[in-house]
Amino acid sequence: MSVATEVRTKYEAVIGLEVHVQLLTQSKLFCSCSTRFGDPPNSNVCPVCLGLPGALPVLNRDAVTMAMKAAMALNCAINTRSRFARKNYFYPDLPKGYQISQYDEPLSQDGWIEIEANGARRRIGITRVHLEEDAGKSLHEGFPDSERKSYIDLNRSGVPLIEIVSEPDLRTSEESYDYLTRLKTLMLYLEVSNCNMEEGSLRCDANVSVRHAGASEFGTKTEVKNLNSFRFLQKALEYEIERQIEIVESGGTIEQETRLWDSREQRTYGMRSKEFAHDYRYFPEPDLLPLIITEDWKDEVRRSLPELPEARRQRFISEYALPEYDAAQLTASKILANYFEEVAKASGEPKLAANWVLSELLYLLKEANKEITDSPVSAASLAELLALLSKGTVSGKMAKEILAEMFRAGKRAAEVMSAQGLEQINDAEKIAAMVREIMAGNPKQVEQYRKGKTATLGWFVGQVMKATRGQANPQLVQDVLKRELG
């Protein structure tokens, strides 16, 4: 499907995202079953999450704390009193016949997050952040009788989620992608979720409508589900926007419905739409008391908030004098930012550290298909190498080669250097001969030094290093130089 550009520009898309984030608690939201992923099916279940008659839910305090962290980081107001509600629908992976969620009194509301659109920063409104429990998992394929049967694993039933609902403030698939990326980064910084899309820890539904550019009224929206990767999100939105434009262009009307993205066929499908399919008959959960958030609790959570990506980006610019672009790149991931800071501090060379992390190291990681967490070169190791580089012990070219070998063999800079015959020259006589030669060739600098400009020593060290291709022991070079120049 493809709509001509001139037609496309006549329209504007209006997008709101509903993002479900699985919280990193050890136990479920309303019972003490483990939340561990990948355990044998139906092995982390109890009467509460199996929906057995008479079982009563008891709220997990830490799940509330994590949800509050997320809400605060999204600039939401925390409601002193919120309550849980039952969302009623029938599906085999929902054993109680209802999901405990929040409805008319959510945990928090009215926040925002900043995204970047066309080079400008823009605030996207957050309608609400609320707590709810996850459903179980249905397997429709992979069993001999899958034609006739579905298989249900209830390990995930009752796992805590937060739902983050945005205002319909997004206008393009790129903006939506950026929004979701920033949301994910934020959750990772807060350590409230691992946001693993394959494991379903981050799920996204989109409300999409189109209207004539400049119009103020919204068009009829569809809800697109099953957007379980960042790539899918963008593709599905593109598809859906164009589908709707084509319908409107040809004089049709958009039907309000739920559509599923099919990644294999690269299109969205309408789910069987019944006019009352969305009658969830919410009502207050009688088994749980209203949730009261005291000022003390709020303060406790606020104090525990880590430095967030935006603050860290600004600090990297001011503290390390990094270019905006580098600071943004480095803070896009907390782990990368931590790695960089460790290298910067240990080497004392923040700019060098930024360059080497962003270019050389990320390149090597990408080549090896590895994440920064699996880097064979530790931050301390890279810092050692950069210190050698900044002292002139090794040249930039040598450092690149050494780093590649450190990465390949998991060795430290000194080990690589000695293994490759790049080992240091420790022969004082050999160095002294070289020093005398350099002194003879540069009488002006010798005089400067002897007149008290001791900084010239560094220049001499550099000359010796250059002459030895960085292989001379710098400490020894210094000692010999001091003696000879003395």
Binding site: Q26, R61, F143, S150, F276
Partner: protein, 100 residues
């Protein structure tokens, strides 16, 4: 009678019940009578009463929160013990898929 046959079919649909035309006719007055009885509550003036969903009122703080500590629970075979159908450690149900 305030309730219509359409309402009865709607409620049945939400409950995943299949009703025959006769049953719809039979249940309509019954449901209607129940609702009419409940309507009596509307005679009370509750404008000064705060809506309440629980039988206990909230305290200033939450009296019943749990700390995040996992506890051993059912083994797989215990969990599946009463399932009408199971297989490979799963509950087995008639195939369900929402699709066009």
């Amino acid at each position: 009678m305030a309730l219509t046959e359409k309402d009865v079919r709607y409620v049945a649909e939400l409950a995943h019940l299949e009703l025959t035309a006769d049953e719809v006719t039979e249940f309509l007055p019954q449901l209607d009578a129940i609702l009419e009885y409940i309507q009596k509550l509307n005679e009370l003036d509750t404008t000064q009463v705060e809506p309440m969903a629980q039988v206990t009122y909230p305290a200033a703080e939450n009296p019943a929160l749990r700390s995040d500590r996992p506890q051993p629970t059912f083994q797989q075979d215990e969990a599946l013990m009463n399932a009408p159908e199971q297989g490979a450690g799963y509950f087995r149900v008639p195939r369900v898929i929402e699709r066009e």
